[in-house]
Symmetry: C2
Subunit: 315 residues, 2 copies
């Protein structure tokens, strides 16, 4: 029986998981992400945490099939990181650098893509071999799995679905500098924007108006209570996501779409609402594409990154 590590690097913490080759998560823990000095300590800190765990468990290098790692930026299939602004990282060879530090085979990927692989393997997409993950948080992250494998893309940026332009006439810029990106409407903060605009346009009274900055949760809660304006905003939000995800599915034609991120806490009403609006926007061959919620939460990254290593080095 061999073992392996799944590692998910975030802007404030690094999550680590020790897995058996059979896919069982034996242990998970976190260390802080030290972004000082262009993040130069991050990989050495990870290598130390891995070495500590191996020593504590009496594992040799030969006992370990390898290490998978997800990072918040584009990573090519061959392991070249092309800048991670959150970490201070520039361009470098992640496989070689972390491989030299740990003495283990390393396979890296973009964090959103790696989370998609995790959800497809053990989460909301389990049992499917092709999947689109849309992570609806502050922005929209995404990852695409085809034949059970991450679609990396030529520049490590496949699945950057949040930056598909939906409204070229938009006047408020997206965080990426473009205008009218899907994440300006379909993320949690996008839902806030839709609520703000609906309040300005409509005369409907609503408890939403008493809130200084209504959150995604406020809109879903009030809609569940039957508030007309919140229902209108929620419906528009479903419509935005339905149109957006139909576009993505026309391109890659997956078996299932999995919705994750903070907004997915709204529950089945989200998946059902988005699917209802998706169908009329979708080309006929894909109208049966299923919708599900992500189930692994913050563990999707360690599951997915371990799976990356397992597929690459598991024999």
């Amino acid at each position: 029986m061999k073992f392996g590590f799944g590692i998910d690097v975030g802007g404030t913490t690094v999550k680590l998981g020790l897995f058996t080759q059979a896919g069982e998560l034996l242990e998970k823990w976190e260390i802080p992400t030290n972004t000082e000095h262009e993040g130069e300590a991050i990989l050495p800190d990870i290598a130390r945490a891995v070495a500590d765990c191996m020593s504590r468990r009496g594992l040799s290098r030969e006992d370990c099939l390898g290490l998978g790692i997800g990072v918040p930026g584009p990573v090519s299939d061959s392991g070249i990181v092309n800048k991670c602004a959150n970490l201070g990282w520039g361009v470098f060879d992640l496989h070689k650098t972390l491989g030299d530090l740990t003495g283990l085979p390393v396979k890296g990927g973009n964090d959103a893509n790696v989370a998609a692989l995790g959800e497809c393997w053990k989460g909301g997409g389990q049992g499917h071999s092709s999947m689109v993950l849309a992570t609806l948080g502050t922005g929209i992250g995404g990852g695409i799995v085809i034949d059970g494998k991450i679609l990396f893309g030529a520049h490590g940026a496949a699945g950057e679905i949040g930056h598909v332009t939906m409204d070229k006439h938009e006047t408020e810029p997206c965080g990426c500098g473009k205008f009218g990106c899907a994440e300006e409407y379909g993320s949690a903060s996008g839902l806030t924007r839709l609520a703000r605009r609906a309040m300005a346009k409509s005369a409907l009274p609503s408890p939403l108006r008493a809130l200084e900055k209504p959150t995604a949760k406020d809109v879903f809660d009030l809609a569940a209570q039957g508030d007309a304006l919140a229902l209108e905003v929620r419906e528009e939000y479903f419509d935005v996501l339905g149109q957006f995800l139909a576009g993505v599915c026309c391109v890659v034609d997956p078996e299932i779409v999995v919705l994750g991120g903070g907004v997915s806490k709204a529950g089945p009403v989200l998946a059902q609402g988005v699917q209802r609006h998706f169908v009329p926007y979708m080309f006929h061959t894909g109208r049966g594409i299923r919708f599900a919620l992500a189930t692994l939460g913050n563990d999707a990254g360690i599951y997915g990154s371990f799976k990356l290593a397992l597929d690459q080095f598991g024999g």
Copy 2:
């Protein structure tokens, strides 16, 4: 040296090519497509044409690695055709049916996807391993190549990029029954629609107004002569395609986009114009994605379908 066939089934003719395993096209010819009685004669006619060629050249089954075939409808990776309206075909196993008729291993694909593989192998995308092909004809066909292989999709419909919804407020229906599909603006007939709308909206005089139904060629020809209205329409057309293809590229992140179909006869001005509009719509990681014109014309399908067979059966 082994040989193989590449076959491209269209609504009026079937194109056939005999290739060497090294990828040299030795001979190409056409037979009519007999769509009577739900297209029941099409595959037997193809089998006869293949057998005639083998007999004429003294080739045994052992001399042939197999046969690739592109058909105008969705085909799954395992060879299940899911209706080809143009041919009258329903749902059936193409690999088994044509395999039984010819005695050769068969690998099938959707015609647009197969053309993409051909263009990636020997055409406008040569030297690249990932590519998006957009075929700008009466509609917009598409095909996606990843790591040198066709992206089939779970329902055989990956690359149906023409049916991404661009304007949900559109009132004229697309041929598919939806409203506001990319092909309503980005195809040859879409360009005609843009011209019609521009003439209605603008007061600019233009020779375009004297034409009963200006074609894509009329718009490009008049724009090349400096006609202001035609230039405006052409610019809007480039913008539609730039936005549309940036969306596709945010999803799959290819190395290159290849433009084919009737509109691509406009030449380099098309690829350059679309790329110019693509860049501001594209996420920063993909702004260097190249644009090129398709070069194989009507032979893309036979090249691509032979390549399908070569990859599957060529050892």
